[in-house]
Assembly symmetry: C2
Homo-oligomer: 173 residues x 2
């Protein structure tokens, strides 16, 4: 039940709506999880039941009310306790790598397409991280910057590796 702590952690920064949590999870924490609304909203409801968060409804006309969630004392405590435990191992599911692993069943052209598309999306991700970084105010906690740096370095390493591969298969043709 790790999304519980994702949500709790984001709310410990500042009160937010479900929608905002999703956005933030999808930018700064993209390498941590890919949670969808179908996970996030029920998690929020559960947290509310358990008294780990509190909710304030801001009614607007003709639109769904913004439900702003804030962490409670109980929630803070639960979060801190969870933080003490050693983290579980990373879980991954990488179809791209799996396909590469089986590339021997692939035409050279399809392989090249696979690699080029990966490079494209990695580049895009790197750009968005760069934007995130320059946007970050001076008040951004250093530990959050560390995570962004981690992501950027990983992607840069991947890009170099991709470029080498692409050059390699190009030469072999």
């Amino acid at each position: 039940m790790s999304h519980r702590y994702l949500v709790l952690g984001l709310l410990s920064e500042k009160p937010m709506t479900g929608y905002e949590i999703k956005k933030r999870a999808g930018s700064a924490l993209k390498s941590v999880t890919n949670a969808s609304y179908g996970t996030l909203y029920p998690t929020l409801h559960r947290l509310l039941e358990d008294g780990a968060v509190r909710m304030e409804e801001h009614i607007q006309n003709q639109r769904p009310a913004r439900k702003v969630y804030a962490i409670t004392e109980r929630g803070q405590q639960e979060l801190k306790q969870w933080l003490q435990q050693p983290p579980n191992d990373d879980q991954v599911r990488r179809e791209f790598l799996l396909k590469l692993f089986m590339a021997r069943h692939l035409e050279p052209d399809s392989l090249k397409t696979l690699l080029l598309q990966r490079r494209e999306s990695s580049r895009a991700r790197l750009d968005s991280l760069e934007r995130l970084r320059t946007t970050a105010s001076a008040s951004t906690p250093p530990n959050q910057v560390w995570v962004t740096e981690y992501d950027m370095e990983m992607i840069q390493t991947e890009l170099k590796w991709l470029d080498r591969l692409i050059a390699g298969i190009g030469a072999a043709t």
Copy 2:
């Protein structure tokens, strides 16, 4: 249903038992998935039903029979078709990074422990990859080597990043 293709792909190398598939998935393909027996065995049964694999039982005394699975023509075809499709995005769940992101709620000592333990397990993983690499026979397909190189470079990048962080928080004390 991506484990279907993981299994199919491994069986396209050579016939194997469920147990062997698990081992191989846990070494060469650790960065692709962390499938457990509870996923792998039912996947194998399903594949058999669908005629994508065939099974041969090798009875031994006093032990469960080894069930050796091999890919069929149908399976080959299905695998190739899947390979043509563009891969889904990577899915990740990284508690370690999430905890780091929230490290402001953590005592300096706990933070240091978190980082040191991560370094330890990353080192172990790097060692096992190095062993995998030196063990790899000359007949190992190049694309499989690429995946191992990918993993190694990622982990090396992570280790450098970890060392920097650890030095940084050490200095701050």
